[in-house]
């Protein structure tokens, strides 16, 4: 069974630029999560989708971050404009029954 796919794996941008990350969850998984993991910390949930509806986005900085999950499968996370403090690993995860999450390898973002 193929795992969660993410791209790109690495991205370097300058502050105030825009960036987008893509996630393809495990086939059939209804729930999709985007996390931000700053170095030395645990993952922080940014947004959780159930199919193509949002379950929780309380920790998503909505003035600069946006996410969508069209057709309830793939998802994109966008940052516009990026700030230095956005430098982190962005993890995507999916689950079938809620609590067992399968993570992708993440996208390491560096904002200069």
């Amino acid at each position: 069974e193929a795992g969660v796919a993410q791209s790109p794996r690495y991205k370097i941008i300058e502050k105030r630029q825009s960036v987008a990350f893509w996630c393809n969850p495990i086939s059939g998984h209804a729930t999709l999560y985007w996390y931000q993991q700053i170095l030395g910390q645990g993952p922080k949930l940014l947004i959780q989708f159930q199919n193509n509806g949002v379950v929780d986005d309380s920790q998503l900085p909505k003035d600069r971050f946006s996410a969508e999950r069209l057709k309830g499968v793939d998802s994109t996370l966008k940052i516009q404009p990026a700030k230095l403090e956005d430098s982190a690993v962005y993890l995507c995860a999916s689950s079938l029954y809620g609590n067992e999450q399968f993570f992708g390898p993440g996208t390491r973002l560096t904002v200069l």
């Binding site: 999560y33 910390q41 993952p43 922080k44 949930l45 929780d56 993890l91 809620g98 993570f103």
Partner: protein, 112 residues
Amino acid sequence: TQLLEQSPQFLSIQEGENLTVYCNSSSVFSSLQWYRQEPGEGPVLLVTVVTGGEVKKLKRLTFQFGDARKDSSLHITAAQPGDTGLYLCAGPRSGGSYIPTFGRGTSLIVHP
């Protein structure tokens, strides 16, 4: 907000030593999960504990859920270099839907 506090934050030991890491909260959790994250990868689920007092074993790893379901521990016997990684505990926030929250993690290095 339900917080998960993990200790110690860092642990550096020699191969063959035993160790215990902790995950504590002032709140009751319906379940807790332990993940291991290796450098450059996403977290991988090790175990889910659901019942207060529950003990689960995974080869040399022993997981325990506190009787009051507010804390959990992970004990590793005879650690090996392959055990090196970031150990994260996670649980659902209060409420109906499963919305996960993670601790900051314990970074373990096992030296040969």
